[in-house]
Structures are given as structure tokens and as C-alpha cells.
């Protein structure tokens, strides 16, 4: 179970040149009902967000709006590059019920497991 929702495979790294995207930092939690994924995409709003599912590969893309200021740049640390990261999903995830929301640049994805794979207690008959 642990290996199934792993981060970017080398295949994906080749597909997206490093110059085009940066990987958002993520936290992933597993609960008995499913997974919870949090990704940091500062500057990205609902309109700049794109989530695609291809087979069992989930890709999140966050496009930053052009927020350049008409003035001289004295000091720069922030990246202008858009965010993208691909995750391979645990087959137990019910992809039809994936939910996403973005609040203050933090994307929260809820990935519920389908009912039949949830752990369940089996009563032992006498």
C-alpha cells in the first residue's frame, strides 16, 4: 500500500522539463477512509489550478498569475515558474469521489478509498 501513492516517477520527470515547472511541497496523510494531500502553491487561485487524471496518474498544475510590479526589482527569491507534480494513485482510491479545494495558496485534495477496500471487521460465527 505504501508504494502505490508515490511521487514522480523518472518517466514524468523527463516529460516536464525542469525549467518549466517546480514541484510544490506536499504533505500526504493516510487515514482509514482515504488519503489527504496538501500542496503549497502560493499565488495560485482557483482559476489557475488544473487537476488531471490519466489512468491512475494524478497531475496537479498551478499557474501563477502575472503579478509583476511596475518598478525596479531590488531583491528576488520567489520563483516565477508554474507548479506541477504527478502522483501515482493507490488503486484503492475511488477516483470519482476525489475532491479538491484551494485556500490561500494551499491545495487540499481528498482522495477517498472505495468502500470495498476499507478495512472491515468480519464477525466470526460460532
Amino acid at each position: 500500500m505504501k508504494q502505490t501513492l508515490e511521487k514522480d516517477t523518472p518517466k514524468n520527470a523527463e516529460r516536464t522539463p525542469a525549467t518549466e515547472f517546480v514541484k510544490p511541497e506536499v504533505n500526504i496523510y493516510e487515514t482509514k477512509d482515504g488519503y489527504l494531500l496538501e500542496a503549497e502553491m502560493p499565488g495560485v487561485d482557483k482559476d489557475g489550478l488544473e487537476i488531471t487524471l490519466e489512468g491512475n496518474e494524478l497531475t496537479i498544475t498551478g499557474r501563477r498569475p502575472d503579478e509583476s510590479v511596475d518598478g525596479e526589482l531590488l531583491f528576488r527569491e520567489r520563483s516565477r515558474v508554474n507548479f506541477q507534480r504527478t502522483f501515482e494513485l493507490d488503486p484503492a482510491i475511488d477516483t470519482a469521489r476525489i475532491n479538491a479545494k484551494i485556500n490561500q495558496g494551499l491545495l487540499t485534495l481528498t482522495l477517498p478509498k472505495s468502500e470495498q477496500v476499507k478495512p472491515r471487521r468480519i464477525a466470526v460465527s460460532e
Partner: protein
Amino acid sequence: MNLIRYQRPDLVWPTFGRLSSLRDELDRLFESPLAELTRSSQLLSGWTPALDVYEDKENFIVKAELPGMKKEDVEVSLHDGALSISGERKSETKHEDAEAYRAERFFGRFQRTVTLPAPVAADKVKAQYKDGVLTVTLPKTEEAKPKQIDVSIS
């Protein structure tokens, strides 16, 4: 800490004596309180939000990336011509049965200070927090603004 393969003392060549004493030195260095400090302190593991500083004719504009915070948890202050942005990011996720299996995000306190190159009007400073980006606009004082002086040439 011993990363090299153990060799029986009688097989070690005499010239290796110096190397192994160097190794002992390194081991001691990493076991010293200094090593403990770098491992446990915020120096290496802390959160330093990225920021940009712009200047136009009227203002200094500071933009800091603070994704996933609450407005109330961000503090902006100005002291002696230095802008301080600080706060604390708290984890929103509190599932008793949740198992974190990838943890790249930082939670806890942070502080960044920027010394502004010219005086600003402290009472006119404005801050806005939107989409996880904090924008602080600091208007320059009248004296600090660039002035154009027309010199008549006779």
C-alpha cells in the same frame, strides 16, 4: 558513528594509523554539541518564506510567499526602517488515525526582516494577504522620493 568496514587491527597497514586518527577526529566533531545544534535547531530545518522586494517612485513593495496560513497568524511590523514579517503556521490536519506519509511542509514559527533602503511613512503601510501571498506596500516619505529639479539653462 563508524561508516567503514571493521578491520582486524593486525591487518591494518601502519600508514593507515593517521587516517584512522583523522576519522576519529571527524567522529568527535559530529558527536560534539555543535552537531547536535545543527541537527535539532531551526537553522537547517526552519521555514524561510521566499520574498521579493520592489521599488517604484512612490513605494517599496514586499511580497512574501506564505501559503496555507490564516490572516490572523501573520504579523507585519516596522521598526527602525526594517520591515519584519513573522508568524506561525499551524497544521490544519488533525486526524487521530492519520498517518503522515509524506511531510515536506513546514509548520511552526518563522520570521523575516528586510532593511528598507530609504525611510517610509510608517502610518501609511498597507498589507494584503491573498492566495497565500502577502503583499506589503510601504510608501516612501516625501524626503525619500526622487525629485526632479528643473535647472534653467541661460
